[in-house]
């Protein structure tokens, strides 16, 4: 985007300088600069990096640490990197940091929070926490116990520990990055020294995270002994955004996958629609494992885009900035492909307020109206905002500044690469509902349902999810609970087990509304049962009987056997709706463990926590 006095905090001279510089920069240089600026702020408490010498600092830090070394005291040689990750982003970023630091000669301990021996915490020299936030400000599954430990009285004093936190989240949620913020505050409270300021990342986290990684690496290498980092210079390149051996196609550079098949899995007469998408990965070099997800960049709804443009009486052909390097697109194109227009958030409203001549918007943003604000943003979109707070003095360029980039949607992969080479299958339920007097459409689901034909292309990337993986040992029994579209990854699990000839037992719990029309992948399961790939299948269809039945009832009906499987070492996987299903399923598991294991509620909870820590209770819930 072109910086101007009006859309940035810079003076016109500053803006001019930056505008002159930015278009000349390569991707690598941009990434580097992002990191540098973060570091500049983190370390920039004064004279050490005074402005006139600024240009030499990166040199000193990243290209010639030897030269800078005598100026700073030698820091610790070990780094502990802890991640709490639900969908794998934090974990992946933690892995990158680990690679970087190892490359700099550090002793790195990389661990999921729930795998980490907390009695080592006191000894940690550098401690880096990368964690996401879910639902109502909750930690991810594998971060929960560590979070509780650190916030308890048992947490050790951490004077002498140097730390930094990278928080992942989504600004459209009220408790944006809360878990990361909590860790950040608590570590400081325990006496640890913050060496790089926390960075809170929105769903479009790549640039911000890369900046944090560079900053962290910069601080450590500048603090480290010169002899131990001979290859430091090599670290200062773009490898931060690509991991060796991976495809060139990433979140930031999605692959345009051809649609091979796009069909509705719900039979005629169903009140639901679930698309089964088969995409070609041919030529992409992309690969995935069961449990991974695909990120999809959707297009917004045509009619919503047109309604917004016509409401503002703009010309759909007006150019607006859509690229990092200031590339522009026609307004209509920009709103269709580049910006999120279906979700409102507090930061968005705050930015927008500058362009609204309606006092009610400023009023709504006052701290005392927090509850009203929360109620307002729920279920409303940009068009509502525009209509509700007229008049507007906003330009297309301003609007682009107010909006955040359209985030990719993640879908658990429903296929095994072993049984479908060069393909990936997705299961996407169409979301449509009425709210605030208008019909609302799920962006990606409606796009794939209504506007994506076989032969068309979809921008995708693979999102690894190391926290949702079938057992390594093929003989280990698996219990899979996946009602609705939650069943998708289990198709991948089972297909993969079939290809591998896994001997372990498998048990699937599935549910939806109606047997006749909503039994997703019914014939696949029937075939797998027949062939012995799937050992047991229990189903619950909630709307076929007067009394609604759900998967957790089926679990309880089979409680004795289910407990027996657990005792035999079965792994339990839950995928699907978080709010109700995952909660009820967990309650059922606790009841079963309590009943057949003769345990108190606390005992059952401890049993389940242990399963979780052993990686035997994994969830992919949303």
């Amino acid at each position: 985007m072109q910086l101007q006095v009006t859309n940035s905090p810079f003076t016109s001279e500053q803006a001019e300088l930056i505008n002159k510089l930015l278009p000349t920069l390569t991707e690598t240089q941009i990434n580097w600069l992002g990191g540098y600026l973060t570091f500049y702020r983190a370390g920039g408490s004064g004279a050490a990096v005074a402005v006139p010498e600024a240009s030499s600092v990166p040199h000193a830090v990243l290209e010639a640490p030897a030269a800078a070394a005598p100026a700073v005291p030698q820091g610790p040689r070990d780094a502990t990197i802890l991640f709490g990750s639900q969908t794998g982003n934090s974990q992946r970023l933690a892995g990158r940091l680990s690679d970087k630091l190892k490359g700099e000669g550090f002793e790195v301990t990389l661990s999921a929070m729930n795998q980490y021996k907390t009695n080592n915490l006191k000894k940690a020299g550098y401690l880096f926490v990368l964690v996401s936030t879910h639902g109502e400000g909750d930690p991810p599954d594998n971060g929960l116990t560590f979070y509780e430990f650190l916030h308890s009285k048992r947490a050790p004093k951490l004077e002498g520990t140097k730390f930094s936190v990278l928080a992942l989240g989504d600004t459209s949620y009220e408790f944006f990055c809360k878990t990361g913020q909590d860790f950040d505050a608590r570590l400081a409270e325990l006496g640890a020294e913050r060496i790089v300021d926390r960075v809170d990342c929105d769903v479009d986290f790549e640039d911000a995270a890369a900046g944090w990684l560079t900053a962290v690496t910069g601080v450590l290498t500048s603090a480290a002994a010169p002899s131990s980092a001979p290859q430091a210079a090599a670290g200062a390149d773009a490898s931060i955004s690509t991991v060796q051996g991976e495809s060139v196609y990433t979140r930031a550079n999605p692959f345009m996958a051809e649609v091979l098949e796009n069909l509705n899995l719900n039979g005629r007469g169903s009140d639901r629609e679930t698309r089964h998408l088969e995409l070609s990965l041919e030529g992409s070099g992309l690969s995935y494992a069961p449990g991974d997800a695909v990120g999809v960049y959707p297009q917004n709804d045509l009619s919503l885009v047109d309604d917004i443009i016509s409401f503002l009486k703009w010309n759909p052909a007006d150019a607006v900035v859509t690229g990092k390097a200031g590339e522009t697109s026609p307004l209509r194109e920009a709103l269709l492909h580049h910006y999120e227009i279906t979700v409102l958030s507090k930061p968005l409203l705050e930015k927008a307020a500058a362009f609204s001549g309606n006092a009610k918007l400023a009023e709504l943003l006052k701290p005392e109206n927090k509850d009203e604000l929360r109620a307002y943003v729920k279920g409303r979109d940009l068009l509502d905002l525009l209509r509700d707070f007229e008049p507007w003095t906003i330009s297309p360029g301003d609007l682009a500044n107010v909006l955040r980039k359209i985030p990719p949607r993640l879908y658990s992969i429903a296929s095994s690469l072993n049984s479908h080479p060069d393909e990936v299958h997705l299961t996407i339920r169409k979301v449509e509902y009425e709210a605030h007097g208008r019909e609302r459409k799920g962006v990606c689901s409606v796009y794939t349902s209504e506007r994506l034909e076989p032969g068309g292309k979809l921008p995708v990337f693979i999102q690894q999810n190391p926290n949702f993986k079938p057992p390594v040992n093929p003989d280990t029994p698996v219990i899979m609970i996946g009602p609705g579209t939650g069943v998708a990854p289990f198709r991948a699990f089972l297909e993969d087990r079939e290809e591998l000839g896994a001997a372990g037992k498998s048990w699937l719990f599935y549910g939806d509304r109606h047997f006749v029309t909503d039994f997703l992948y019914q014939t696949d399961w029937q075939r797998m049962l027949n062939d012995g790939v799937l050992t047991k299948l229990d189903v619950a269809f909630s709307r076929d009987t007067e009394e609604k039945v759900y998967v957790q009832q089926r679990m309880l009906e089979n409680s004795e056997e289910l407990y027996k499987w657990l005792q035999e070492g079965a792994h339990v996987y839950v995928c699907g709706d978080e709010k109700h299903m995952a909660h009820d399923v967990q309650a059922a598991l606790l009841e079963i463990i309590g009943k057949h294991g003769g345990k108190s509620p606390e005992g059952a909870a401890a049993y389940l926590t242990e399963l979780q820590e052993q990686g035997r209770y994994q969830r992919d819930v949303y």
């Binding site: 039979g267 047997f515 299948l537 189903v539």
Partner: protein, 577 residues
């Protein structure tokens, strides 16, 4: 008595179904387990075979089959339930139950079959048991509505001779009960072991489970019908065993017995053919159960159990000869039939409208297209009948022509019923062309698994196109029996249609002609594999010529034989010649 004709039962390895029956432990099989399997809405093949004995077929909506396969969904499995109503008679209370069950568990409509039974379609597996329980609570049953046993016994609903009807109806009930399977499996599986009415009580603890049928039941289905001349509405010659009521001096004195009829055949196999039953003698009413039982046991012992398509009773008789059968029957009876008495049939169709019986009660015969009791746009037939059932004090009779009689109506109720019908715009049928009124079709697509072409859904359209031709030829009120089935199994008795179509593939039919108007002569193949245009092109000149050249009241079937379009079929064995 001396037995002149010896015969050995036909040999050959028993068919799969025979093994299945034998191993089923009197029709139990693994039905209970299969019914509780939640992963499929269907049944495994073996249990589906057994289910027929319990009055149900698994079907799937074939309109959905291909798209569901792509959607990774199994076929839209559903069940047809057939309810045994001897002579087609149901009380108003029973009517209301069936009406409600169709809404609650079925597709919303009821079907009157060509054998005077009710059919419910579209029942899901999970609802099968509840539906059957509610049917039994209404003192109806589905037991033996299908399967290798004696089926629903048909009888003429007779709007004229009310006193004869009540006697004949009584015997159809007696025959049904006498030949019903006695296995407790039905009650165990569907009624939780309880018997609703003790009509099937066994003689004692030591009695055989199936004293008539034995453990493997019959080689194929077995059909019995009772006709009351001059009406041959039940197509008595199409039955394995027929009784023709002999009324002398206004009293039922007994029945002529006919044996060996049957409609089914297999495309491309000339060893299979439709056959008409032959009259073999006369019995007094008190002896008809005995005759039926012994006839059934002869078929049980001599029928072909190796090849099912050759297993019907007609082939058993044709194989061994009629004389052999009569001898065998006499031997098993221990007495002989009397010589057959005189009788005359003059039609097979129904007589529409209000007719007063000899007892002074009224009977209304209503035309029902393809036997489908449904509410369609502008024609709320099902609703109207429900309202009538609520006030009706007589009975309902399903006719062999898939029509409905509201029977035994007092003069006072007649006014109310007529008013209800008028209120809902329901018409008796007399305003339809005679061709439409005489039409008969089976269910076929989308639910029947055997169908190769449309029948119920298509015949009305074909008639729409034939009516103007008949109108122009001045034949609007000329009854011509027209019948259509989706396959050659013959549910709508096409081999007795003056014009008949048997499905070969979607949109293509074999066309048969020349059956006797009163059901006494089979039709003959006239054109193979023809579609609608050829059907019209073939029939149009023929109809015009019929209008111009017919002899007096000559029927269409007789005309096409006389003028040489087809040869007369004198016996099923020369049907293919």
């Amino acid at each position: 008595m001396a037995k002149n004709h010896k015969a050995e039962p036909i040999g050959g390895p028993p068919s799969d179904v025979e093994h299945l029956k034998k191993e089923s432990n009197y029709l139990r099989g693994s039905l209970t387990d299969s019914l509780s399997n939640r992963i499929t809405g269907g049944l495994p093949e073996l249990d589906n075979r057994l289910l027929k004995f319990h009055g149900s077929y698994m079907q799937d909506d074939r309109d959905y089959r291909n798209e569901r396969e792509k959607q990774k969904l199994e076929p839209y499995f559903q069940f047809m339930l057939r309810v045994v109503t001897p002579g087609g008679v149901a009380t108003p209370e029973q009517w209301l139950v069936m009406d409600e069950l169709a809404e609650k568990y079925g597709t919303g409509s009821l079907r009157v079959t060509t054998r005077q039974a009710f059919q419910l379609h579209g029942v899901l597996k999970w609802n099968l048991k509840k539906t059957i329980q509610e049917i039994n609570e209404a003192l109806l049953t589905t037991l033996a509505a299908c399967g290798d046993v004696s089926r629903n016994v048909m009888c003429n609903p007779n709007p004229y001779q009310s006193e004869i009807h009540s006697e004949v109806f009584h015997w159809s009930q007696q025959l049904t009960t006498h030949l019903a399977p006695k296995t407790p499996a039905y009650h165990e599986i569907w009624l939780d072991g309880e018997k609703v009415v003790d009509s099937l009580e066994q003689n004692g603890q030591t009695a055989e489970v199936e004293p008539i049928y034995g453990p493997v039941y019959l080689p194929r289905k077995f059909k019995i019908g009772i006709a009351v001349p001059p009406s041959n509405d039940v197509d008595v010659y199409s039955q394995d065993l027929g009784y023709i009521a002999i009324v002398e001096g206004g009293k039922l004195v007994g029945f002529n017995v006919s044996v060996g009829g049957g409609m089914g055949m297999t495309h491309g196999d000339t060893a299979t053919y439709p056959q008409l039953a032959k009259v073999i003698g006369f019995v007094t009413p008190d002896r008809i159960l005995d005759v039926a039982e012994k006839t059934v046991t002869i078929q049980r012992d001599y029928g072909n159990r190796s090849v099912r398509k050759y297993a019907r009773f007609k082939y058993t008789i044709d194989r061994h000869g009629l004389d052999w059968f009569v001898d065998e029957l006499h031997e098993r009876l221990g007495w002989e039939l009397e010589p057959a008495r005189e009788f005359t049939f003059d039609h097979t169709g129904d007589r529409y409208g209000w007719i007063k019986g000899k007892d002074g009660r009224w009977n209304l015969t209503l035309y029902v297209q393809s036997g489908r009791i449904a509410d369609t746009e502008g024609y709320p037939l099902k609703t109207a009948l429900r309202e009538i059932a609520k006030i009706h004090t007589g009975d309902f009779r399903l006719t062999a022509n898939q029509n409905l009689m509201i029977a035994n109506v007092t003069s006072q109720k007649k006014t109310k019923i007529a008013a209800l019908l008028q209120g809902y715009g329901i018409v008796e049928g007399t305003q339809y062309s005679a061709l439409r009124r005489s039409a008969l079709s089976c269910v076929a697509l989308p639910t029947c698994g055997l169908a190769m072409a449309e029948a119920e859904r298509y015949l009305p359209t074909l008639i729409d196109k034939l009516e103007p031709i008949l109108e122009e030829a001045g034949l609007r009120d000329e009854e011509i029996n027209i019948r259509m089935t989706g396959c050659p199994n013959g549910c709508a008795r096409p081999a007795l249609g003056e014009i008949a179509f048997i499905g070969k593939s979607p949109g293509k039919y074999n066309m048969y002609m020349g059956a006797g108007f009163s059901g006494d002569r089979l039709s003959k193949l006239y054109r193979e594999n023809i579609g609608e245009d050829e059907i019209i092109d073939t029939l149009k000149p023929m109809i015009n010529r019929y209008a111009a050249e017919r002899d007096g009241g000559e029927h269409f079937g007789d005309f096409v034989v006389r003028t040489g379009y087809v040869q007369a079929v004198t016996d099923g064995t020369n049907f293919h010649n």
